[in-house]
Structure formats: structure tokens, C-alpha cells
Symmetry: C2
Subunit: 375 residues, 2 copies
């Protein structure tokens, strides 16, 4: 097998050692004579994996005792609805900062969820310009642009916009907002676990697994105990955050194989040196890519403002759509896949999640130089 250089936006590349471990014990997990998929979620063999995944998350991110770590299902898209259902009380409002397509989706679902339960949402800031097909997002806001209501149930941000390639807190001038009284809530689906961050600054962060953590089908939620306790009780039990919080995410059957894969990925990440080492590795990959773009200004163009450029999803345009198609096709011949931009915005997108090897980026950068030279 020749392994592809996989730049998919998600589901995305997984670390080879995590996959090899899964393959090697797929039929016989921990000498149990069964696959991990065949174990009861209440048995000691699976429970050890579940506990290890939770412990590794707590260790890698230094999650304080004030916060719970949960595994939930349904993808970040479900959290778009489930969070306001939990956290917006009757008569209350939640603030949203919109910096791209995922922020728009989160806002849209929160509108319906809050309307259903007697609350409301408000846009505290948007960086979108233009309308309809011309709508574009090229930056995250400066802190002074976010007008959050201190009485809001929370202030919601999308820490990295996978489609538009804008990210908070890569450049020091674009930190996460400090909403004062209201808890900060972040959708970190596409930039969770690529670097350390101060969990205590957030009331809640959530991340679909299929970028940096594992296969699709699991969402990791880190939430302050205070927010869990404050959550509404007049919604179905399965949607209350206190349900996984009080049951170690074992209220009902969790996606056991997904959590097992997360354990494998986290063990690999720890083995590489943890999040500081991973941050250095990722920043180097992104710097090489943006360097290749900026080195050919007449050919490659990154629409994103420098201070907002994402380390996880590097987006750029070529002179024409034909050039972009050719770029994708030629790269594919060289074993590089997943480079096509999201269908809603076009262009090229290079996703450089943790499992994307620096050598793959080197190969891509070399190709970019040669391709630009040929024109």
C-alpha cells in the first residue's frame, strides 16, 4: 500500500500508529477473544479504554477540576441545537459571534431551539460582508468589535472556520473575546487539540471528533460544572448535559469504537510530546504553506487577513477555476488528496490537522512552487 497524503477537511487523516493499533487488535482486543466493538460498554475491558480516553484528554489539556469532559453523539451540528436547549433559560438571550458558515449554522439552529423554549439569540458581532453568493468571511473580529451582553446566557464563537479558514488566537492581536459576565462557548470542531489552551476561560467547548481526535460519530464537550448545574431540566433527559456528566458519558451506549479510536489517537499525541510539541509542528506546517502562497503573489492568493489565518485549514485561490481544477488533479496524481475547497466557496483548501505529516506538507509546498512556475 502506498499511503495517501490526505488533506481532507474531515473526516480527515488519522495517525498511522493509531490505525495500526486498531488493525492489530481488531479481532482480539486486549487478549479478550473479542473485538473492542463486541464488548459491553459496561464491561471492564471497554471501561478501561473509556477511562483512559477521558484521562488523556484531562491530562493533555490540563482540564481543571471545575470542568467535566463528556462524550456525546450527533456531531457538532447537534450541539448547535442542544447547547441553547440546555443553557438559554426562558426569557434569556444568547449572543453569537459569526465568522463563517459554521457560525451561521450554529446561530440558525440556536434561533429555532431558543424560540421553541422561550428564549432568543442575538448577533453580538459578524465579520461577514456582502450578501448571498457574494457573502464572504476573511477574518475574526478584534476584541473591541464584539459587543456582548453581560447578561447573555453565553457568548458563542467558532474558534476555527473550516470552510473559510479563519481562526482565533493564532495571532496575538486576535484573541478569543472576553465577554465579561457571560460564559464563553466555543465550537472547536476543527481546531481542538492542536495546541494547548486555557480551558478555564471557557464555560464550554465542543468538538466533533473527525478532525483532530478520531473518526466521525463522537463529540467531545468540556463544560464547567456550574453550567451543567444551571442547565434546563424541562428538556428530554438525553439532551441534558447533566446526563452524560452524571453518568461518565455511559447513560446510554456510547459509540464505543469511536471512543476507542480517540484513545489511540490521544496516546499517539501524548507520545509525540503533547500539545506544545504538536503546536510547534502545526505552526511549522502552516508557515510553510502560507509561505508558499505569499512567495507567489501573482499566482496564489489567500483571501484571509494575515492576523486571522488558520493553522488548521489553509485556503487559497489560483488565477482561475480551471487552474484550480488542474492543481487538484495534478496533486492527486502525486498522491495528494482532499485539496478541493468547500463547494460553497471553491478554491483550494489544505487541511493540516495533527495527523497530517510535515513531509506531506513539504511535498505539497514543493508541488505548489513547481506548479506556479509552470503557470
Amino acid at each position: 500500500m502506498s499511503r495517501k497524503k490526505n488533506f481532507n477537511a474531515g473526516p480527515a487523516a488519522l495517525p498511522l500508529p493509531a490505525l495500526e493499533r486498531a488493525r492489530d487488535e481488531l479481532l482480539d482486543f486486549a487478549n479478550s477473544g473479542m473485538s473492542v466493538m463486541e464488548h459491553s460498554h459496561r464491561g471492564k475491558e471497554y471501561e478501561a479504554v473509556h477511562d483512559e480516553a477521558l484521562a488523556l484528554l484531562r491530562e493533555l489539556l490540563a482540564v481543571p477540576a471545575t470542568h467535566e469532559i463528556l462524550f456525546v453523539q450527533g456531531g457538532a451540528s447537534q450541539l448547535f441545537a442542544q447547547l441553547p436547549m440546555n443553557l438559554v433559560q426562558k426569557g434569556q438571550t444568547a449572543d453569537y459571534v459569526v465568522t463563517g458558515a459554521w457560525g451561521e449554522k450554529a446561530l440558525s439552529e440556536a434561533k429555532v431551539a431558543t424560540a421553541m423554549l422561550g428564549g432568543a439569540v442575538r448577533v453580538a458581532c459578524t465579520t461577514g460582508t456582502g450578501e448571498g453568493k457574494e457573502k464572504s468571511y476573511v477574518r475574526v473580529p478584534r476584541p473591541d468589535e464584539v459587543k456582548a451582553d453581560p447578561a447573555a446566557a453565553y457568548v458563542h464563537v467558532t474558534s476555527n472556520e473550516t470552510i473559510h479558514g479563519v481562526e482565533y488566537a493564532v495571532d496575538p492581536s486576535r484573541p478569543f473575546p472576553s465577554p465579561g459576565g457571560a460564559p464563553l462557548v466555543a465550537d472547536m470542531s476543527s481546531d481542538f487539540l492542536w495546541r494547548p489552551f486555557d480551558v478555564s476561560r471557557f464555560g464550554l467547548v465542543y468538538a466533533g471528533a473527525q478532525k483532530n481526535i478520531g473518526p466521525s460519530g463522537v463529540v467531545v464537550v468540556i463544560v464547567s460544572k456550574e453550567l451543567v448545574e444551571r442547565g434546563r431540566k424541562d428538556i428530554p433527559k438525553i439532551f441534558q448535559l447533566r446526563t452524560p456528566a452524571e453518568n461518565k458519558s455511559l447513560y446510554n451506549t456510547p459509540p464505543t469504537f469511536g471512543i476507542y479510536m480517540i484513545r489511540n489517537v490521544l496516546a499517539w499525541l501524548k507520545g509525540l510530546g503533547g500539545l506544545s510539541a504538536m503546536e510547534a509542528r502545526n505552526r511549522k506546517k502552516a508557515a510553510r504553506l502560507y509561505g508558499a502562497i505569499d512567495a507567489n503573489p501573482g499566482f496564489y492568493r489567500c483571501p484571509v487577513e494575515k492576523e486571522s489565518r488558520s493553522v488548521m485549514n489553509v485556503v487559497f485561490r489560483l488565477p482561475s477555476e480551471q487552474d484550480e481544477e488542474r492543481f487538484v488533479a495534478e496533486a492527486k496524481k502525486l498522491g495528494m488528496v482532499g485539496l478541493k475547497g468547500h463547494r460553497s466557496v471553491g478554491g483550494i483548501r489544505v487541511s493540516t490537522y495533527n495527523a497530517v505529516e510535515p513531509e506531506w506538507v513539504d511535498a505539497l509546498v514543493d508541488f505548489m512552487g513547481a506548479f506556479a512556475k509552470r503557470g
Copy 2:
């Protein structure tokens, strides 16, 4: 490796060929140089798997064109809330038939979900007797016992109670209710796909995958187009059944590896001769087990009435709890696992899902005979 004889209630045994196929291509799916987990859910490689899983379900169950097949997340426990959110209009009532712990849970979540949205639930029949710790369920109702409201949003049944071991339509005298005007909705989590059934009789059936279909983390829903269209639009989009129905269950990232495993399991099932062959195989396994119980009436006792005995989960008691513990421990030494009854009811439970090999049941039956003889 010596493969265990796995009688787990779920997650449960999977067919060995389905697991071997997953292992063999775990690093290199369909010669793509990537794991199936690393493929985009919008790419042609994954889409072929997704489409094949849907097509196999349609073929195996002869699902009519009037019905959609959906993959959703969150487990059947989420459906307990999501279904009434979709299907019970303001001012409307849904009827529940309660035949065990899962029916109780479905009812309990539906109460909250309907209260949240201006509807209500009603118990159309319960076969429970006793209260609190003494509460027991030993049968499904006779058709004449179910007093359904023809104007109900639907009538909900649990086709097989995994914990209590009672099942509909194993004996001809205990068919599914015919609720007249209201659509019949069935939680088939633990008895989906073990036999053919007439899908057109149901408005909706749903089943968590982790019994007969695949690993945990996916729910299969089969629903009439009419019910999808009638569904409420004032709930978040992610919870509306029309969202997966209109997007081939690809509105957001599905649990791709879980659906891949379902494809593998369904291909195995088709190769074994489909559902009629599977029904014969399963009925034989269950008959052997109930035969072993009834052959030792002084030692083994099945609390379930004969007409309601489940083919999927065979529950029985021994003279004392000490005997039961000894039974589980000695069986374990012989490579038989997953025999302990659910913690809420105790006793022994033998789950005999599709992937449980007839030879495993034979070994267990031999052991049961020898164990009873020794006393």
C-alpha cells in the same frame, strides 16, 4: 486467538467475516491508500459504502417505496425524545404500550418531549405488575388488550424487551397491535433484522445498531414518507426526520465507520441467505435454549409466558443467586461470556443475535444440562 462465545446483550457479537473484512482493509480501503475512517463523507469511496448499506437494508427487508431508510445518531435513547418531537403536534397525544424497561424509558422521555412542545402521552396498555423493586414484565399484550386512540399521533411499542426477554410476534397469538387509524411505531433495537417483517404495517421502526446490525453509534430508522412530511418544522433542523430523509442521511457528517461496518454485516447476512434463512437459524437457537430450560423445570425457570418468549434474549433464573453467580463463572471458564442478566432484574440472560453462532448455543446448552445435573 481463541474467539469467545459472546452472548452480550449489546454491544454484541459481530459476524467474524465482517470483522475480518474491516481488519484486512483498515489501513487501505478499496485500494485508496487510506482507511475508510479517513475518507470524506462526500467522497465517492465512502458514498459507495453508504449507498450499498442503504440498498442492502432495502433489499433484505423489502422496504417499500413508501418508506425512507435513515441513519441517525444518539442511540435509540435519543429517538425516545426525537420521535415525539417530530410526530406529536400541539394538542395531540401519542399512545404507548409498555412491556418492559425500554418501553418505560421511551414513555418517560416522550412525556418530557411532548410537554415541551404542547402535546401529551397516554399509556394505551401496560403489562407490568407490581411496583418498585417488585415490578415485573413477563409478557406482551394480547391484541384485544391494547386500547389505542385512533386519533393518536402514533402507537409506540417495544418489539423486543432486551432486559425482560419478551417479544411480539414470535407466537402467532401475540402479533403487533393493529391500532386502526394511528400509525404503528416500533423500537426494534434488539430484534431488528433477525427475521423478515412487513414494513408497510409500520409508520416508523427504529433500531440501535449494536445488537444485530453493527457497532454502537448508529440508529437505523425506517419511516413512511407521509410521517416525514407531517413532521413538525418548529424544532431544530438536526432533529427533524426530514433532514436525513432529504439528504440521504448526509446532512452532517455521519458515523462513517459505523455505517461501513453495517455494510459489512449486511453483506454477510445476505450471503447467509437473507432474513428467512436467518429466522430459521435464530428460531432453532432459541428453541434449543428454551428446551434446555424446560427440560430442567426444577432447576431452570423462565419467568416469561410461553407466547411472549423472545428469540433474541432468553432470560431465566436458577434456584438461587449463588447458583447464578456460579453458572456465570463456570461458563466463563469455558469461553462463554455476557451471560449475566441485566443488573435491574438479575438472573441469566442469553442474547442470541444473528452473529451468535449455533455452535455457541449448542455448547451453552450442553453446559446447562451438565450444570443442572450437578445442581
